[in-house]
């Protein structure tokens, strides 16, 4: 099953990134939010069934610019991880995010999403509350929003659970973040009936920031060199640049840019 096109070094590198992205001591959305925004006010609830603790969302100032911030949250201890469902978002989380995105659009604020999830929450209640519909609705509505959306993958970008906050004008990844349609373990157990093959499969999935940049799926990679505070400063700089770029576009252009971005993936296929 080994493929000549994926070298040993690439496999080791990919798996290393998976481990780094999942590291329990890694910085979380809230750490970044506290560092780069002022006057952050958290807003709760989907106005329907509840408040999802895997998503921290609210309004804030980014320098002189009002913004809406939405971040998937994990913890740095077992207890914290349990509290926020290991960053696995439920339908009410996606709907809270969408509610605040619509609010941002009403008040013409840019939307900044931080993605960090192993995937959408797999559970009885999540299915009962329409997990599939909630994700689909976000993909549909996010395409249509007329204010800038920036999505920054800071750790794990797990499948549809990540994409539901990832339909953006620009998608940015941290150097050690990953973004994949399926977890390496999930893929290995489905294809090879052996989740221990996950490290090799991680290489085959090409889920690293560099690979995804080369594919044109993401726009920018933020270096993780230096202290956390210097990493957060680079995130801030990157947002600054993108907000400036987006300020040159009107609402319809922003929407069109976002739709085109996804429309073009696969449009080269020839049909008869």
């Amino acid at each position: 099953m080994r493929d000549k096109s994926t070298t040993e070094a690439e496999i080791n590198n990919a798996w290393n990134k998976v481990l780094l992205a999942r590291k329990i001591t890694r910085f979380r959305s809230l750490d970044i939010i506290k560092h780069i925004f002022n006057s952050f006010i958290e807003l709760h609830g989907d106005r329907n069934i509840g408040d999802d603790r895997s998503i921290i969302a609210g309004i804030a100032m980014f320098d002189q610019q009002a913004v809406t911030v939405i971040g998937q949250q994990k913890g740095n201890s077992q207890k914290e991880m349990e509290y926020c469902q290991y960053g696995m978002t439920k339908p009410e989380g996606y709907r809270k995010a969408l509610r605040l995105m619509k609010q941002a659009e009403k008040f013409r604020r840019p939307i900044i999403c931080f993605i960090d999830t192993p995937g959408a929450f797999p559970g009885v209640s999540a299915e009962k509350n329409g997990q599939a519909e909630a994700i689909a609705r976000n993909l549909y509505e996010m395409a249509n929003i007329t204010v800038p959306i920036l999505s920054i993958i800071i750790g794990e970008g797990g499948s549809g659970g990540a994409l539901a906050l990832g339909v953006a004008n620009r998608v940015i990844m941290l150097e050690n973040a990953i973004y994949s349609v399926v977890s390496p373990e999930g893929c290995a157990s489905i294809l090879y009936k052996d989740s221990r093959k996950a490290p090799v499969v991680a290489g085959h999935l090409h889920l690293t920031a560099i690979d995804l940049k080369n594919y044109g799926i993401i726009d920018e990679i933020i270096s993780e060199e230096g202290t956390e505070s210097s990493i957060f400063d680079r995130i801030k700089q990157s947002i600054e640049g993108e907000l400036y770029r987006c300020s040159q576009l009107d609402g319809d252009e922003l929407r069109k840019e976002r739709i085109e971005r996804y429309r073009n993936i696969g449009s080269e296929i020839v049909f008869s």
Binding site: E127, G160, V167, H206, I259, G266
Partner: protein, 278 residues
């Protein structure tokens, strides 16, 4: 025993003459199980005879991340079932009403969505907008195509945006969820229909049952992730028996035909006057 003369139910194993099952739309005569249909049987059941025209036919194999074993698997399926992708799209008539239709086929890699599937479905909606026709999608899919990695994930965003543009243009989209409708396909165009129908007993959901059991250690309710479960919780408009599917679709199309609507957008005011005068 000839395989062609007899048919064995996938669920209960009941064996009967193929002709009898065929007449019963491949619903088991013993246990009522709905067999998953290939695209040809589905089209025969729904589309008026000899009116289907396939669109966006493609021939190349796409392997965007050069995934080991992908091409071999593709070639295996191609030689076994002469199928080179998981969706067939085209136009046809339902009781004389023209529609664009897409039918997913689980014989090709569990009906999973890769770039070609995403592109065909996107073009189906774009063609339907150009021709001002309704779209009917028959969903049968295990979700995203793992072997295409991130490119497969992006098709969820692409197809959802395609539904958005079509919907903004006023188009009618009916999605029919059949067994199975799961993963990334359920979490994109499948659940974005103006009207969402489902076949009885169909498996519908986002996460896999085994994943849920393992991760959460929860006991699953008896009808968990069935069409009936989803309708009970408000996510499906109507469960339709297979034998009634064509007539139900035909009625929905008729009700959406603007010729049958005096209140249609363009000349709403004029129509109201007409009603008062008559």
């Amino acid at each position: 025993m000839s395989q062609n003369l007899f048919f064995k139910c996938t669920k209960c194993g009941y064996i009967t003459e193929r002709k009898k099952v065929e007449v019963n739309n491949y619903v088991c005569l013993s246990c009522g199980y709905y067999e998953t249909l290939d695209y040809k049987k589905r089209l025969d059941m729904i589309i008026d005879q000899n009116t289907f025209t396939e669109t966006n036919i493609h021939n190349d194999f796409h392997d965007p991340i050069n995934f080991p074993g992908y091409r071999t698997k593709h070639e295996e399926i191609l030689s076994r079932s002469n199928l080179n992708e998981a969706v067939i799209t085209g136009s046809g008539y339902i009781d004389g009403q023209k529609v664009m239709i897409g039918v997913m086929d689980t014989r090709y890699m569990m009906g999973s969505m890769g770039v070609v599937v995403g592109e065909k479905i996107t073009r189906l909606f774009e063609d339907a907008e150009d021709e001002k026709l309704p779209v009917i999608m028959f969903i049968a899919s295990g979700g995203a195509r793992m072997q295409e990695g991130i490119f497969s994930l992006m098709q969820m965003a692409k197809t959802s945006a395609a539904v958005l543009r079509f919907s903004e243009a006023g188009g009618l989209y009916i999605s029919v969820l059949t067994n199975p409708t799961t993963g990334g396909v359920s979490a994109s165009f499948a659940f974005l229909g103006d009207i969402i129908l489902a076949e009885p007993g169909a498996l519908i959901g986002f996460a896999g049952k085994r994943v849920i059991e393992q991760t959460i250690n929860e006991k699953l309710p008896f009808n968990f992730q069935t069409a009936e479960f989803l309708m009970d919780h408000g996510y499906i408009d109507l469960i339709v028996e297979r034998k009634n599917l064509k007539s139900t679709l035909s009625d929905i199309l008729k009700i959406h035909d603007q010729e049958n609507n005096k209140f249609k957008l363009e000349d709403n005011i004029g129509s109201i006057n007409l009603l008062i005068n008559s």
